[in-house]
Symmetry: C2
Subunit: 204 residues, 2 copies
Amino acid sequence: MNKGGVFIISGPSGSGKDTLLVEYFKKRPETAFSISSITRDMRVGEVEGEKYNFISKEKFEQMIKEDKLLEYNNFVGNYYGTPREPVEKAVECGRDIIIEVDVNGAAQIREKLPEALSIFIMPPSFEELRRRLCGRGTETEEVIEARMASALGEIKRATEYDYIVVNDDISVAVDDIISIISSSKYLLGRQKTIIDEVLKNAKS
Amino acid sequence: MNKGGVFIISGPSGSGKDTLLVEYFKKRPETAFSISSITRDMRVGEVEGEKYNFISKEKFEQMIKEDKLLEYNNFVGNYYGTPREPVEKAVECGRDIIIEVDVNGAAQIREKLPEALSIFIMPPSFEELRRRLCGRGTETEEVIEARMASALGEIKRATEYDYIVVNDDISVAVDDIISIISSSKYLLGRQKTIIDEVLKNAKS
């Protein structure tokens, strides 16, 4: 059986990445999604095991020690990370898996899984990014400027990614991601079995 | 405007590559096809400018001297090659272009155009390859063995390619190629413009 592929997806706030992923999973529910382990408290509306597994700091630090994370960081006292095991399991079972992570996490995962493909979701233009980050117009100028600076900082690192998908029309962008994930099945690294098989039978 | 992509397609006799390309171009007539320059005589049923441009040996040798070929070889006294200009023109005009070429030609093109993506068409199994090469059963065992040896020699070099497409069901294989060619539009190397544009507007 062919192995599954690992797909890192990042995009700044304003790229529309979250809605894009919701739409992607409606069309491709067979793809697995990597659930992050985090140590902060659960917020209203969050469900254990949906997007996050809520675990203790002690357990998280144990995972770090045992190299059980593909990436992690510590943000204002709380840990966030991607557990290695579910990703490896999906790949072994022939399932593609998506890891939604920021540019720093993506860089850490590439070190550990060089065969992972990474996709950066881009807003269609600077103006549209500003429009999206302005939200409902209730935020102060400072808040918007801080969001813009953070988004632009991430966009500068888009060149570290294998693929760039511009999210202008969401249904087009979803199909772009489907096409990237489908076509990667035919990459040499995931097709060596068939070459070996034809040649093996040739020798016997 | 985004540039077009260059796609090298190879596959041994018995891979079904020719039928596959005919079906591909029915579905994607906007893709360009690289017409080879050759110096042998035209055969019955061949049309100038369809698959080949028939030119003189003198003209071909002039093209070699002027580095106007992406690849060429000499087979029993006749030259076969891929002219550089139509490929560069297609790319500049934003058209994808397919170059159908053998494993040796593919290796030469990769040297000159490292950004080209290459796709190797595989027969689904050793047994099916033999069945296809036996043809209508009118060939001698020696002819079939020679074809098999040549096909297996090419398959050994399939590991030089970016993508491997198994041609078991032709309509599936055509869709695989369409998906590879479409998704390559989103590769970083072909999307730098959008990153530069968003960041440029950020500075102004």
